[in-house]
């Protein structure tokens, strides 16, 4: 069922030929940086699917390929081999222009920091993807999006007038306003204190539970990862381990930390 508030839904149906169970899928994905002796393999024949309406955390030691995974899955970078599909569309065959448009319509982003354009207000930052797509954002929709992240009264503030946690919440509102197929979050709580982290993770969780959104989050924080339905552990560009649900079960963060520690010792 398509949501009624979903702008551009008709266009999307013409591209999407079949209903998809996976929001994002990688098959046989490989990514090599450099050539010859200096070649570094960041992704090694990785096959992975992120099902629609789930919250997945990607963890792994530094250099495990988790950032590369996120960049390639989001179409920010190209694979050396294999395919990526977002909402059933193969990114490999798309031009930079087409990939940009696809990113705009189907993917939302939340980074560790510097998510917002400093010269724009919170409301303007939220409506940015719609404006870039040439659409006139409805004031009510923007207000509602900010309201959902609890910042309705901060609409006219610029990023410098917001706390770090508030800035991340604006970024989440922006990532969700297009009702994307998937939201990629790269260490979204990395620069926040515990309370702000909890708020941000709660919002991501609510997007999945309340709106059926798909969230893929790269993190090194076991507490953050404990909010996810599934945790994928990467090592040397491959899936080293997986941990299923349920999210936020008691003792889950400790369990994840233990798995991480084992991964790093091996």
């Amino acid at each position: 069922m398509r949501g009624t508030g979903r702008a551009g839904g008709l266009d999307r149906m013409t591209i999407t030929h079949s209903p998809v169970a996976e929001a994002v899928g990688l098959s046989g994905a490989g990514k090599v940086y450099g050539t010859g002796a200096q070649a570094v393999t960041a992704l090694d024949d990785l096959t992975l699917a992120f099902p629609t309406g789930t919250f997945t955390a990607v963890m792994g030691p530094s250099g495990s390929g988790k950032s590369t995974l996120l960049q390639c899955a989001a179409g920010l970078d190209r694979l050396t081999s294999g395919t990526v599909r977002v909402g059933g569309v193969d990114l490999g065959g798309l031009s930079e222009q087409r990939r940009t448009v696809l990113r705009r319509e189907r993917i939302g982003f939340v980074f560790q920091a510097f998510n917002l354009v400093a010269s724009l207000t919170a409301a303007q930052n939220v409506e940015l993807p719609l404006r870039l797509a040439g659409r006139r954002p409805a004031a009510a929709a923007v207000r509602a999006a900010l309201g959902e992240v609890g910042l309705a009264d901060r609409a006219a503030h610029r990023p410098s007038e917001l706390s770090g946690g508030q800035q991340q919440r604006v970024a989440i509102a922006r990532a969700l306003i297009t009702r994307p197929d998937v939201v990629f979050a790269d260490e979204p709580t990395g620069a926040l204190d515990t309370a702000a982290s909890r708020e941000v993770l709660g919002l991501l969780r609510a997007a999945v539970d309340g709106h059926g959104q798909t969230v893929v989050m790269v993190t090194h924080d076991p507490v953050a990862a404990s909010y996810a339905d599934e945790v994928v552990f990467l090592r040397d560009g491959r899936v080293a381990d997986r941990l299923g649900g349920p999210a936020r079960a008691p003792g889950r963060a400790e369990q994840i930390a233990g798995l991480m520690a084992r991964l790093e010792q091996r």
Binding site: S67, E96, T100, R103, F111, A118, S119, L128, A133, D186
Partner: protein
């Protein structure tokens, strides 16, 4: 929306662009307003004739001077007869102009440059100048003088004409400028008639009369209204030409430097905003949209700067016009009027310049990958991109080639070769600064490497690691110092070389020169002096010089324009309107002075009774004593006097251009300093946490700014001195005496000090601001 918000949000970093554009548009608006106000006007003394019939206006080969081809006395009389029969015409006045100047108490009065103040009495009617006392001059020895001279009716006074001085009686006083002789006397001093003025009956329509006149005077120009401005005096056209040269130089400098300022500030802007641009790309801005955002910013800043510049330029135009008048580059009557069109043109140029300047930055911004948003810290890009290497290397190769050529080029090409060599080398130094500066920094700071304080270490390390930033601040310094040294050095070297060469050529000879008059009379100059005149051939007006020769020789350029070669016969019209057939005996190469057309002196004198010699060499001072309007000088004094006007103008141009460029690069220096301090905010915070006092931080910033200015000055001198030495060698060959390179130290020092002061002030202000909020 994004562009607008970006402009609002980063007003500080766009201030440099705004200031540059404001100054540029103000300069362009000012020069255009002055230029449009100084356009030719109908001379007052012809303004009362609604219809003027004149010969074709002929430009000379250079397109600078021009003249109106005259009719002979007989042709003019016949034409006047035909025209006076037309319906509506009250009378037709043949207008003659020639040299006539009154001498009161032994001193020639009036404009010393005016060789055409004399007219026949009937011409006074063309300006509706009334006789305010006495009677009109009717015979030889009678004149009507301007009432402003203070002469009384019946007074005896001296009149200078091309023949010499003569005693005359003032029979009448006229309320208007000029010296009026009887028509008969005028016809003998200027037999040719360039203009016929038509005075109309009451109620006659000038347009109707003009149509009839066209039919009656085939081949002539019939002018009414504004068209009559083509008859402005040659002297005025020359003055305006000189003024226009300065205005063009100022306007083109404004355009080029503004493009430079906009391009460099926008480039820095894009570098500083990589992360933000990456974020925009990530959330779905296409490269084209990014480019449009950057260009949109340029458009907004351009419009704002254009508006401010238009106001500033309009305000400045009045004083600028008065300054031009004072410098002798505009007619005293110049009134600068506020006009819409020139200001609109200036604003449009300003916006265009902003877009052109931002174009490259927009392209670079569009290439920022979305992943730039993910990176934690902005990494200093490679010191030199491939394009910069190519451009810098190309400029260096070109400069080297040109500098080498100054050694081998023909004498008169050396000056230009040196100029271009210096320009190319300056560009090369600015472009290659990121690779040139680090070794220089190491060299300069080497003696300090053992110093105990943190200062030398910090300054050295900062300048070395951020090569591109150091280069960005040094580039405008290199350009300013190079430009100032080059222009001032060139002018001061030329100012010495030309008079020295001239004096050497004339060593031991005395020269008679005009004193308060436009030229020397036949009585003073004698029969051997060079007699300048003007002849007309085809559509062309040619400067002719009567000399002690029997043969006709012509400059190659003029020969080409006439499509004539040695042995050919060309038909020319002289100032008296009569035609002669000349057989060309010799074609001389271009580039020598006063050789467009060399004719036998007596031929020129026969056809131009009012021609004046400019000087006469080998004159005996005692023989000329007591003659009005003559002065006898020795070789050195003559050479200095000859070049003084040229060098005054050269110096004026150079000063104006240097002042402009220092002001401009000041903007660039201040801007780059401010922006680099902004980008160092985190470094400053670290420095403060590590225990640097605010005073220390400021001291380091000042030291770094001074180091950059010192290096820029060194490179600026290094790229201009060798070409200047080449130019001095070329000049020495040209003028035949040794020429030493003269650097103008006061101008050079003032430029360096001004640049250093601006750089340090900007760096201190920006550092103080940046360290005020020590969070990243």
């Amino acid at each position: 929306m994004i562009a607008l918000a970006a402009v609002r949000g980063r007003a500080a970093s766009l201030a440099g662009t705004f200031a540059g554009l404001t100054l540029g548009v103000a300069l362009i608006a000012m020069t255009l307003l002055v230029h449009f106000s100084a356009l030719p006007r109908t001379p007052d003394r012809l303004a009362a004739a609604p219809v003027l019939v004149h010969g074709p206006v002929a430009p000379d080969a250079d397109g600078i001077g021009s003249g109106v081809r005259p009719w002979s006395a007989a042709d003019a009389e016949a034409l006047a007869g035909r025209l006076s029969g037309l319906p509506g015409v009250a009378s037709v006045v043949p207008d003659r102009s020639f040299y006539a100047q009154l001498v009161i108490g032994g001193v020639p009065i009036g404009d010393a440059g005016d060789a055409s103040a004399g007219h026949g009495w009937s011409s006074a009617a063309l300006g509706a100048y009334p006789l305010v006392g006495g009677v009109a001059p009717a015979a030889d020895g009678e004149v009507a003088a301007d009432v402003a001279t203070g002469l009384a009716i019946g007074a005896r006074t001296t009149l200078l004409t091309a023949r010499g001085a003569a005693e005359v009686t003032v029979t009448g006083l006229v309320d208007g400028p000029g010296v009026y002789l009887s028509d008969g006397a005028a016809a003998r001093l200027a037999p040719g008639v360039p203009v016929l003025g038509l005075l109309l009956r009451p109620g006659a329509d000038p347009a109707v009369v003009a149509e009839a006149a066209k039919a009656a005077a085939p081949g002539a120009v019939v002018a009414t209204g504004e068209q009559r401005a083509a008859l402005e005096p040659v002297q005025q056209a020359k003055t305006r030409w000189l003024g226009t040269q300065l205005l063009i130089a100022m306007a083109s400098l404004a355009v080029f430097v503004t493009v430079f300022v906009v391009a460099s500030t926008f480039a820095l802007n894009v570098t500083a905003r990589r992360r933000e641009l990456g974020l925009l790309r990530t959330v779905g801005a296409t490269p084209r949209q990014i480019r449009r955002i950057v260009l949109g910013e340029a458009l907004l800043v351009g419009a704002a700067g254009g508006l401010a510049g238009a106001l500033l330029g309009t305000v400045a135009a009045g004083p600028a016009g008065r300054l031009l008048v004072r410098w002798g580059l505009a007619e005293p009557g110049l009134q600068v009027r506020p006009q819409v069109l020139p200001v609109l043109i200036a604003v449009a140029v300003g916006i265009g310049v902003a877009l052109v300047g931002a174009y490259a930055a927009g392209r670079r911004a569009a290439k920022v990958p979305p992943m730039a948003a993910l990176r934690e810290a902005a990494v200093e890009a490679r010191a030199m991109g491939l394009g910069r290497w190519l451009l810098g290397g190309g400029a260096l190769a070109l400069g080297g080639f040109l500098a080498a050529r100054t050694g081998t080029a023909a004498a008169d090409e050396r000056v230009n070769a040196a100029l271009f060599a210096a320009m190319a080398l300056t560009a090369a130094a600015a472009l290659l600064a990121p690779v040139l500066l680090p070794p220089l920094v190491r060299l300069v700071s080497w003696p300090l490497r053992g110093a105990r304080g943190a200062g030398p270490m910090l300054v050295r390390a900062e300048s070395l690691t951020a090569a591109r930033r150091t280069a960005a601040t040094a580039a405008p310094v290199i350009a300013t110092v190079g430009f100032a040294v080059l222009l001032s050095g060139m002018v001061s070297t030329m100012r010495e070389a030309y008079p020295a060469g001239q004096a050497a050529k004339l060593a031991g000879i005395t020269v008679a020169v005009p004193d308060g008059t436009p030229g020397l009379t036949e009585a003073a100059a004698g029969g051997r002096s060079v007699l300048p005149s003007r002849v007309y051939a085809g559509d062309l007006s040619i400067a002719a010089f009567g000399t002690a020769t029997e043969r006709v020789s012509v400059a190659a350029g003029v020969a080409d324009a006439l499509r004539a070669k040695v042995g050919d016969t060309v038909t020319v019209v002289f100032p008296d309107g009569l035609t002669e057939r000349l057989t060309i005996a010799k074609v001389t190469p271009d580039g020598q002075i006063d050789d467009d057309l060399i004719l036998p002196r007596d031929l020129v004198r026969r056809h131009d009774p009012s021609a004046l010699a400019t000087s006469a060499a080998g004159m005996d001072a005692t023989a000329l004593a007591g003659l009005p309007g003559v002065e006898v000088l020795d070789a050195k004094a003559y050479a200095d006097r000859e070049s003084s006007e040229d060098s005054r103008l050269l110096w004026l141009f150079a000063t104006v251009l240097i002042a402009l460029s220092v002001g401009y690069t000041g903007i660039a220096v201040v801007n780059t300093m401010a922006m680099s301090a902004e980008s160092r905010r985190p470094d400053l915070a670290v420095l403060r946490r590590a225990g640097a006092t605010p005073r220390q931080t400021l001291r380091y910033a000042a030291a770094e700014a001074l180091l950059v200015v010192a290096l820029g000055t060194g490179l600026g001198l290094a790229v201009t001195v060798p070409p200047l030495l080449g130019m001095a060698a070329g000049l020495a060959q040209e003028v035949g005496v040794p020429v030493a390179l003269r650097l103008h130290w006061p101008v050079t020092a003032a430029t360096v000090l001004a640049t250093a002061a601006m750089a340090v002030a900007a760096s201190l202000a920006a550092t103080r601001r940046a360290s005020g909020h020590p969070t990243g």
